[in-house]
Subunit: 328 residues, 4 copies
């Protein structure tokens, strides 16, 4: 491995997700393993612009593999969207002797990295970190598996208390544009209905289904709803609509919100973070740049950043069928 | 112990709570220990009216101590509020040879039992089962401790992701009339502000406090809000109001809902359930009736049902002071 | 889909694992979806021999998706290893009108199914259920992902308290012949050393590594040890050996044991179970037999039972390298 | 409140326990609330001797309420047991302007504080922090409630898999001299037998009980064993003994170990820590010294340190009876 690169930076950007700390740890330790320097950048691209750097070694990432959030903080930076902002960032990296960076984040963060790479021929690598799993080129993004477990833990608790007659529970989960969480956590939670952005279920079909569900002897039902579902109503409007049309049901709503972004990462997310961090650093050391690392077919792979940004992470249509069969 | 009573019934009534199954198990096994019969009544007083009974022995309550919900189901019964309904229930109990019952539930359930006892001189005992902890005569109701742990687990996850600037998180918890959950889980979750029904905090004071909180260097804050808080706005109206007045804050809302009523009971709730079940049965065997069993001063005690119904379970005012100090 | 088959049986066999109930539920509901009958067989092959069957419909598998263990119980059957035993089992299935079965279990259970299929041309399908992940033809067995999360949860707790000087923690995990759990949970738990059956680390190297670990500034270390590691000592003998050679260390031992086989299944395991159950039933309906369903390359696949039995499920060697880098 | 004291120190000492961080946070914030200074002392009394101090303000204890372990580290100090060591510690405190300290720990830590107070008339207060709950003068020590929940979570998982025939599970829990954990977690976990140091159950009675348990139709049993039980065998010797005498049983052992000391504290422990921290600081400000703060009869109380050290924290004998009834 040609170690032309002597110093690598790592940053987290955009919304945080469980596993980001494990990925930071992996980048830092892989640098140490290959005896190159590593600096952490606080607050994403904004911290890059402001030169908010900190040297990191194997001991500074001690005991963070199991922590949610990100010790480097995260932020969105409008300034980095301007060429002036990016020039400042470049100057800061130059001043600090940084010769490549690994950004952990989502689509937006990758777009920034991709432009930066083009403008300054600066080596960059991306690690997909978002609970939404809406990134092309990887079967799993960091935090997705953890978020699924958080959601089903909530649904399990609701199920415990769902024994009374005629109760309907609406659980709103994250996923403004992507139904991965709702679909998988809906199946995993044993939901009777799942509403996702990718599918036009239609209100009529939902009502039909709820009627049928009741006729089949179910005394209570749980409906998982992605916040960005196609029906175009928020969960409380949906509650009003269904109660107006199915007066025999009393509906209770849970809005899970940001708890889905926190918590100790699952084992899957930690191992994934560890693997992707190793790969990202070693790509830079091998002279590769402008790729996102990910998992495909159970193997660590790389995908050009541009492709990762432009491609679509589609839901597995087979799961729609599984969901339908399971709610028979 | 005079065993004039030969058969005892047990039922769960009203909203369910974690620990009810553990209490059912305890009643059943205490009966077996004293070699008297035990029957379970399904669906609360409604099942009593309909004679929906099942004989229960030590093995039928195997492996339920750790389960949320109630294997006997629970329901509210309008019919039991009429003297005709209660007469039917009495006839069913007579027919089945039941000579006393233990009801696990809240205020409403105890009121039913108290009236029934008066009307038919029928031996009854109450076990306080509700997550709200709003029952006089016991420091803890079944499920309260579990609910607190559920809430702080959610708040912990939100805290993980609360590192970005200027974020405010509103977490709505249960407690329509009582702030026990909000106050204790607010302290336990490290909330910056806690809004409870018992206190007129006032919107102005909330705004002041949030401004001060920010000035003191906190980049994010978590506010725990009981669903029945005195401010008279629901959590989304509150969000709109605060955002209008403190435009520098972006507010995210979580509505925990019924997950607070589910989940495996905590060790405290299981031990409590076991102790109260023993006491309830042994009171009946000793000829006592019309009491609620509870914990006071770390000891199992009994309180006349009427007193338990009429008394008020006040929040510990000292905790308001602790909460204030903790959010310095 | 030709529905020549009218009745399918499902059983769990061998050691249980989280997700088995979710798989039972899936088999039952898929049968219902395709309007064919389904019977559950209690206690594995022994129950098959004894005709311990129960008809199952969509509602009988209500609320089991989140339960550990198996509602059908599991057992090992010596009698089924004899041709007399298998003949009895065949007669029972015939008598009950069962025309194919799905067995959820491991290698041993598949071997039984494979022989049975040969002897009686009886349609069988296998679903891999074991926490050890030691089955060829699938990237994940049911329960493996859950067990990993259970183990890292324990390691996280140990890590909390590992702050004092010179403490060494040995954590023994399951895996008599396969190091999947130790390797992945070791990486996920941030263990300093991982001992697995597949690798001859050697005691000398362990001692070296622990010395180096200390020299590098780590005040405490966690070592994850598979019960079947190559060193040939049990965890307490290993403790004595290391303490004798590295007297500066005080060693504390945790033996996790069977808790690794229990607990609510993770979302991954529940979705996996749901998908595999659908596939297993639909294979039988399509006239396929003698296959194991599994996940490979993120897709549901089938593998001939014989191949699944004879093949080896190797650990991912790349993970050994990741583990080494992470403990730098 | 007379604020003659201007600066208070806080330290954690002895074995750590969940809730220690919450108590540190409370001490620090209560100081800030009363506008006095606060310093943290690292590594217990050893750090006091070495002057390993750090100034602490409300923001330095941000986000630690939910963390296991102790951010101030803990250690045992032989030097502090000598008068020379204590003199050094006193000089360090004087140099730093510290006028009183709060020590969070167990019996040993209190003994040190008590002697120190006598020798130098130095104001000290103790907060009981240990999972064992073996301290006189408080119904709960910090970490005890959390440890109970950790143990029953493990037992629940074991129970899931305990469905096969003739399996016996031995679970060893902490408690060298005190059976509080074993007794309460045994009841909460639904254990069939509980072995604690305070009771001479005797091996014969254990064998009898296991035989009876089986005869009563239980197919599997869980036995919770405190590490310091009176039988004088370790858990593996006990396994060998029982298997030799009851060959029909196959015994599986779990040794939970230090995981019992870690984990996010329960809500109870966090609220307790917050209350005790406030009281400890305010006692010092009121000129009180040499007391332990604790909870008795649901109220915060103070007990002279000497009494806390010499008194015995007995198990609640009523619970032995409850345990017996529950395993009917």
């Amino acid at each position: 491995m040609s170690k032309t690169i002597k110093k690598i930076a790592v940053l987290t950007s955009g919304g945080d997700s469980p596993g980001m700390n494990a990925a930071i740890r992996s980048v830092v330790r892989t640098c140490a393993y290959h005896q190159i320097e590593c600096v952490g950048i606080y607050r994403g691209y904004q911290g890059m612009i402001e030169g908010d750097f900190i040297p990191m070694g194997p001991r500074t990432v001690h005991n963070i593999i199991n922590k949610g959030g990100t010790i480097l903080k995260s932020a969105r930076s409008k300034e980095f969207m301007t060429s002036e902002g990016r020039k400042k960032a470049y100057d800061q990296l130059q001043k600090a002797g940084v010769e490549g960076f690994v950004v952990i984040g989502g689509d937006g963060s990758f777009t920034g990295a991709e432009i930066f790479n083009k403008e300054f021929q600066f080596p960059v690598m991306g690690i997909p970190g978002t609970i939404d799993n809406d990134i092309f080129g990887t079967s799993h993004t960091l935090g997705y598996d953890t978020a699924l477990n958080t959601v089903i833990d909530c649904i399990d608790k609701i199920r415990d208390t769902a024994s009374s007659h005629n109760r309907l529970f609406f659980v709103e989960v994250m996923g403004r544009d992507a139904g991965h969480i709702a679909l998988n956590a809906g199946i995993g939670g044993g939901a009777e209905e799942i509403l996702i952005p990718e599918e036009e279920l239609g209100l009529e079909r939902l009502l039909e289904s709820l009627k049928k569900s009741k006729a089949s002897g179910k005394s209570s039902s749980i409906v998982v709803i992605a916040e960005g579902d196609k029906i175009g109503k928020n969960v409380f409007e949906l509650k009003d609509y269904v109660e107006a049309n199915l007066p025999e049901y009393e509906i209770r709503v849970s809005v899970l919100g940001h708890m889905q972004r926190g918590g100790a990462p699952s084992c899957y997310d930690r191992v994934l973070a560890s693997r992707l961090g190793v790969k990202a650093v070693e790509c830079l050391l091998e002279g590769k740049s402008n790729f996102m690392v990910g998992m495909l077919n159970d193997k660590v792979t790389i995908t050009p950043l541009l492709q990762a940004i432009k491609g679509e992470s589609e839901i597995d249509r087979e799961l729609l069928r599984v969901a339908e069969i399971m709610s028979v």
